[in-house]
C-alpha cells in the first residue's frame, strides 16, 4: 500500500471520528472543563508544599509543574497503550468491524487508523494541562521542546507496542487484559507521575522499587521532566532514551508477532467480530 493511500485511509478514520465527536458536543466541553478544574485543584494542593521540597528531587522543586507534566504525559502514554485495543473493542461493540474489514484494508491498518483520532484528542487534552498551567498559573517550561517531543513520541511508540499486545488479548480473550491492569494502575503508582520514584526505594525497599524500572513510562516521564523542568540537553537525557530504545527493540517484533497470531486465530475461530 502506498503511503498516500495509507494516509488517506487514516484521514478517513479521523474525519469519521471527528464527525461522531461533533454529534456529542457537550462531552467535549465537559472534558475541557474537567481538565481546568483538575489543574486548578493541583495548583492549590501544591501550595501546601511550598518550601518543603526535598532538595534531592530536583524535578520536584515545583511539584505543580511536575504534576502537570506527569498528568499530561500519562494521558498521552495511556492513549498510546490503550487506544489500539479500544479501537478494536469499540468497532466490535458498535457492530461496524465487519463492514470495515470488508474493505481492502489490512487488520493492522484498521487498528492503527481507528486509534488515530484518540491520538489527536490526546495531543489536544495533554497540551491543555500544560497550557492551562502556563496561562492561568504562571508555570514556565524550559529546554528543548523538540527533544521533549522526541522523548514523548518514542515513549508513545513503546507503549503502542504494549498496546498491540493488549489488542491481541482483546482479539482472542475479548476482555480481561492483563497489560491494561499492569500498566494502567502500575504507571500512576510506579512511574513517578505524582511523586519521585526514589521515594518507593526509601519506603518500600529496592525490590518494590524495581517495578518502576520495568515500566517504560518511568523513563519517558523522567526524560521529559529533565528537559522541560530542568532544562537538560540531549547528552543528559541519553540514559532514559537508550532505555526506551531497548524496550522498543524487544517489544516491537514481539508485539507484531503476537498480533499476527491473534488475528489468524480470530479468523480461524470466526470470532473476529465477537466481543
Amino acid at each position: 500500500m502506498s503511503p498516500l493511500l495509507f494516509l488517506r485511509r487514516v484521514w478517513a478514520f479521523v474525519v469519521r471520528d471527528w464527525r461522531l465527536e461533533l454529534s456529542y458536543r457537550m462531552q467535549f466541553f465537559l472534558r475541557v472543563l474537567s481538565i481546568l478544574i483538575l489543574v486548578t485543584t493541583f495548583f492549590f494542593v501544591s501550595k501546601i508544599f511550598v518550601g518543603f521540597a526535598d532538595p534531592r528531587f530536583t524535578q520536584w522543586r515545583d511539584p505543580f509543574a511536575a504534576w502537570l507534566t506527569g498528568m499530561a504525559m500519562l494521558n498521552y502514554f495511556m492513549t498510546g497503550f490503550s487506544s489500539l485495543a479500544n479501537a478494536i473493542r469499540q468497532e466490535q461493540v458498535q457492530g461496524t468491524l465487519e463492514s470495515v474489514l470488508m474493505t481492502p484494508i489490512s487488520v493492522p491498518t484498521v487498528i492503527v487508523a481507528s486509534s488515530a483520532w484518540d491520538f489527536v484528542q490526546a495531543t489536544l487534552f495533554s497540551s491543555l494541562y500544560l497550557v492551562f498551567g502556563w496561562l492561568f498559573f504562571n508555570v514556565h517550561y524550559q529546554g528543548n521542546y523538540l527533544l521533549a517531543l522526541a522523548i514523548l513520541l518514542l515513549t508513545t511508540v513503546v507503549l503502542s507496542c504494549l498496546g498491540i499486545l493488549s489488542a491481541s488479548f482483546a482479539m482472542v480473550f475479548k476482555r480481561g487484559d492483563p497489560f491494561g491492569i499492569f500498566l494502567g494502575t502500575g504507571s500512576a503508582l510506579f512511574s513517578g507521575v505524582f511523586f519521585p520514584t526514589q521515594l518507593i526505594r526509601d519506603y518500600a525497599g529496592s525490590t518494590v522499587a524495581n517495578i518502576s524500572r520495568v515500566l517504560p513510562p518511568t523513563y519517558g516521564l523522567d526524560g521529559i521532566r529533565r528537559v522541560l523542568i530542568e532544562g537538560q540537553g540531549f547528552a543528559q537525557v541519553r540514559q532514559p532514551l537508550i532505555s526506551l530504545l531497548v524496550f522498543l527493540a524487544i517489544l516491537l517484533p514481539l508485539s507484531l508477532w503476537v498480533f499476527s497470531r491473534a488475528v489468524r486465530r480470530a479468523k480461524r475461530e470466526g470470532s473476529l467480530i465477537q466481543y
Partner: protein, 374 residues
C-alpha cells in the same frame, strides 16, 4: 447432488462467462476455544461445530448464483468465507484468481458484501457520511467518492435520505444503503444477503431489476452471489441455485432443473364453462378411477375449475381434455404448476434424505450453526 456443479448446460444463460469465484472443497469447523487447556483442566466443552463440509462450486462472470437453505445450514459461514471474514478449515476459495486466505486484501478489492446486519453502520452519521467513510477506505479520491455516492443514491432512490442520520432511516432504506455500500467500489462480485428483506413490494421489484441489470450489463458483467429465504425471488433472479443443508451442498442447478429433478408431479388446473356440470362430474369420476380431483366454481363467474395432480408427461391431461370435450365443455384455460423450490428445499430437509446423502465417514455430524453466539 444433482448435476451442473460446473455448468456446461447451454440452457444456462451465463455459462459463457469466465469463472470468477472458485470454491474448492472447503470445510469450516469452528474450533473449541482453548480446547487443550479445557482438556487439561478437565472442564466440559461442547464439540466443535462443523458449519460447512466439503463444498465445491464455481460462479461465472455475469451469473446470479443463489444459495438457499434453512437457518443454520451454513449460508452465512459460506458467504463470509468468500468475503475473507472467516478462514476455511480446509479447501480454498479464490475470487478473480486471488486466494481468500493469502491474498485477502486483493479479494476484498473485488468483492462487495451487503449483509442484513443493521448495526454495521455508524448510527450518528448521516447516510452520505457513512458512504463517504467507506468509499475512502476503498481508496476512492474525494472527487470520485462524491460522484459515485451521488450515482448510487440516485440508483437506489436514497437521495432524499442522504442527509438523514442512519438511525433515522427506515429499515428498508437502511437495507438499500447496505447495497449501496457494497457497490461503492464497483466490484465485479457482489455478495448479497437477503437484499430485499425489508423492502416494500415496489422497492423490492426495483432492487431485483437493479441486480438483474448489473449481471446483464455487458460492460460490467457483475457476478452476484445471493442468499435469500425468498424462494420466489431466487427463482426469478438466479441462473443457478445451490441448496445447502447441514453444511453440505445437496443440489446445484438451474431453478427449473432443480424443480424438475426433485418432483415429477405437477398440479393442473382447467377452467371451463358448461351447462350441465353434473354430467361432467360423472364422466370425470368414470375417467378418474384411480386419481382424485376437485371440481368447483371458479372465481370467474359461470366458470368451473377442475384441479388434479399428474405425473409429468403421462396421459391424464389428454384423457381429461377428451372427457371435457365429449361433455360439451368450453375450455377457457389450462394451467400447470410444477414443484416449487420450497418443495426442493423440503425434500433435502427430510431426515431420510439427509441420512442417505451425508458423508458416511462422519457418523456423528455436529449440528451446523450459521452464526456463533456472542
Amino acid at each position: 447432488m444433482s448435476a451442473a456443479l460446473f455448468p456446461d448446460d447451454p440452457s444456462i444463460r451465463t455459462s459463457n462467462g469466465q469463472p470468477v469465484v472458485f470454491v474448492e472443497r472447503i470445510s469450516k469447523t469452528y474450533p473449541v476455544p482453548f480446547q487443550r487447556l479445557k482438556k487439561l483442566l478437565k472442564r466440559k466443552f461442547k464439540p466443535p461445530v462443523e458449519a460447512v463440509r466439503d463444498v465445491s462450486f464455481e460462479v461465472r462472470e455475469g451469473e446470479i448464483f443463489g444459495l438457499i437453505g434453512p437457518n443454520g445450514a451454513g449460508k452465512t459461514t459460506l458467504t463470509k468465507m468468500i468475503a475473507t471474514l472467516i478462514q476455511p478449515t480446509d479447501g480454498n476459495v479464490t475470487v478473480k484468481g486471488y486466494d481468500s486466505v493469502h491474498d485477502d486484501v486483493a479479494v476484498r478489492r473485488h468483492v462487495g458484501l451487503a449483509g442484513a446486519e443493521e448495526r454495521s453502520f455508524y448510527w450518528r452519521l448521516n447516510a452520505e457520511q457513512n458512504l463517504q467513510f467507506f468509499a475512502r477506505l476503498h481508496g476512492l479520491s474525494s472527487f470520485d467518492s462524491a460522484k459515485r455516492i451521488s450515482e448510487l443514491l440516485r440508483l437506489l432512490q436514497l437521495e432524499d435520505s442522504a442527509k438523514k442520520r442512519f438511525a433515522e432511516l427506515s429499515t428498508g432504506n437502511k437495507q438499500r444503503l447496505s447495497v449501496a455500500r457494497a457497490m461503492l467500489a464497483d466490484p465485479p462480485v457482489l455478495l448479497l444477503d437477503e437484499p430485499t428483506r425489508s423492502l416494500d413490494p415496489l422497492a423490492a421489484a426495483r432492487m431485483r431489476a437493479i441486480i438483474k441489470s448489473l449481471a446483464q450489463d455487458e460492460t460490467k458483467r457483475v457476478t452476484v452471489f445471493l442468499t435469500s429465504h425468498n424462494l420466489a425471488e431466487v427463482e426469478e433472479l438466479c441462473d443457478r441455485v445451490a441448496v445447502i443443508s447441514k453444511g453440505e451442498i445437496k443440489a446445484l442447478d438451474a431453478p427449473r432443473n432443480l424443480r424438475a429433478t426433485h418432483s415429477d408431479n405437477e398440479r393442473v388446473s382447467i377452467t371451463f364453462t358448461v351447462d350441465d356440470a353434473e354430467k361432467v362430474e360423472a364422466a370425470l369420476r368414470e375417467a378418474f378411477s384411480t386419481h382424485s380431483f376437485t371440481l368447483g366454481r371458479s372465481d370467474v363467474s359461470a366458470a368451473w375449475m377442475l384441479a388434479f395432480s399428474r405425473k409429468t408427461n403421462d396421459q391424464t391431461l389428454d384423457t381429461v381434455l377428451r372427457v371435457l370435450h365429449r361433455t360439451n365443455c368450453l375450455v377457457k384455460g389450462v394451467e400447470s404448476e410444477r414443484a416449487t423450490l420450497l418443495e426442493v428445499l423440503e425434500h433435502y430437509e427430510q431426515p431420510d434424505v439427509i441420512g442417505t446423502e451425508s458423508d458416511s465417514s462422519s457418523p456423528d455430524p455436529s449440528p451446523a450453526k450459521e452464526e456463533n453466539p456472542r
